[in-house]
């Protein structure tokens, strides 16, 4: 995720999280930011379709999305909250405001934001707890 976001600079970087519920990320799918902006992002619609189909084929689910904030903290902006597409998803924010980058995950349910614990488990995928 971090590599995707650094490569996307000066724009925001983004991608999808593929895994199983509850909150086990098994793969990260980088996407172009089709908004081509340092202030907003949009997942490439082709990546979106391909990833949902892959999830169906492999018995997985798209369980969230990550994106970077290049000059602001790792907290969902009003835009992020308003446009959060799925209340079951995990929204991972990567702030590149300082080094090292700050990586945090949130749930967004009916406009209410709650931070989640992120654990990196070597070789078993990463877990984002509710």
């Amino acid at each position: 995720m971090l590599a995707t976001c650094i490569r996307a600079l000066p724009d925001e970087g983004c991608g999808l999280l593929l895994g199983t519920t509850p909150g086990v990320v098994l793969d990260v799918v980088p996407s172009a930011n089709v908004a081509h902006s340092a202030k907003v992002y949009e997942i490439d619609p082709k990546v979106l379709l391909r990833t949902f189909r892959r999830a169906d084929d492999e018995g997985l689910e798209v369980i969230g999305v990550f994106h970077s904030h290049t000059h602001s903290p790792a907290y969902p902006s009003p835009t992020d909250i308003r446009q959060a597409p799925d209340p079951t998803w995990h929204y991972v924010l990567i702030s590149l405001l300082s080094v090292p980058a700050d990586v945090r995950s949130y749930s967004v349910v009916q406009g209410q934001v709650a931070e989640e614990e992120v654990r990196v488990e070597e070789g078993t995928g990463s877990r984002v707890d509710d």
Binding site: A38, I43, L48, H67, P85
Partner: protein
Amino acid sequence: MSAVLRIPTVLRPAMGGATTISVEGTTIGAVLSDVTERFPAVKGQLLNDDGTLHRFLNVYVNDDDVRYLGGVDAPVVDTDEITLLPAVAGGAW
């Protein structure tokens, strides 16, 4: 015979819970009219008031994004699979 519409998880509660449904119509606009008549609660998530596609909705006919096929005028035939996916977007603003 009719085309198949694949429904995203987030819209299923308002559309009867099914993963796919059969839909009628020879264009995407006609198909979405069929859907919104059957499931009025999702109209605001699919179409704008002027009948154009909602900005934050991606609609695909098979592998193709309908924005490149004429939007609501994109043709649909009986063997097509139509997929709805809400856009995934946001940002620091």
